[in-house]
Symmetry: C2
Subunit: 165 residues, 2 copies
């Protein structure tokens, strides 16, 4: 259905690592990358983006590294995703530029999409990093959909370059 970019996916996993340790704990890109089994440059790139977005605080220099800028329950999935893939709406014209929507039916439908899009945003906004990092206890919002994905036809996107890193 809708797919997140991998970077957002990775980003959440990375952040979850912080959430699972002591509050304010600091980690550097190399260790983090190792922990999550990601190539260092990738992890690095993502961490930088998260820092730029203000979700991580960074410390340069020899004993440098990153730590969460806020408490894990103060960070929402929506923020993370925004930071990593930009606040793109569900349809193209969530912007405000309606130059292309010159037909009524079309824009009517689009209006509805904005509501839906907003609902999703809100849902994602209500799920905290803490609840993602915690044990199987489903967080408040995450508890909504209990379905195990009946027939997901498996389009293996991963497992393509696993030998080395």
């Amino acid at each position: 259905m809708f797919r997140m970019t991998r970077q957002a996916d990775y980003g959440i996993v990375l952040l979850a690592c912080f959430a699972q340790r002591e509050e304010g704990d600091s980690l550097n890109a190399r260790d983090l990358a190792a922990e999550v089994h990601l190539p260092v440059p990738m992890a690095s790139k993502i961490l930088k983006a998260l820092a730029r977005a203000g979700l991580l605080a960074s410390q340069r220099g020899v004993k440098g590294g990153y730590r969460l800028a806020r408490r894990p329950d103060e960070i929402s999935l929506a923020e993370i995703i925004d930071a990593l893939e930009g606040p793109i709406g569900i349809t193209d014209c969530s912007s405000g530029d309606h130059s292309s929507c010159d037909i009524a039916a079309l824009c009517a439908v689009r209006g509805k999409w904005q509501s839906i899009s907003g609902a999703m945003r809100e849902a994602l906004g209500s799920i905290s990093l803490a609840s993602m990092a915690g044990p199987p206890e489903p967080g408040p919002a995450a508890a909504a959909g209990r379905r195990p994905l009946p027939s997901a036809p498996a389009r293996g996107k991963r497992a393509r370059k696993e030998g080395s890193p």
Copy 2:
């Protein structure tokens, strides 16, 4: 945030056209394309896919065309999207192939995603084509998120090749 493909977007608009007329009304690709201001081949392609998925019934030959296979309130957004962009999960490994998730934290997070993904599926499954096609009355599920998208920075993706078609 999450973006639908354009084809899914178009598909919904196209289907909405049917929903807005008499029940069982038939339309051909050309007229439909004109109504929605879409190039004919595009509309055609999408209609074919919708027919293949069983959402539209098709009639070949001279007076042929398409009509809804079911009543508009019996068709959900989830079905339409599935038909047009395949049932891809939110993360890559919604499949079942967990060969790449060799680390605990990672798969824990992934598990959460499946819940969320399921919730979205369910939400989209509860919004009918009828409610998309209807007048500004927000449908039941669409009413959830009332937020007008506070700060959507507009990354114009459209308006790139508009001169010709």
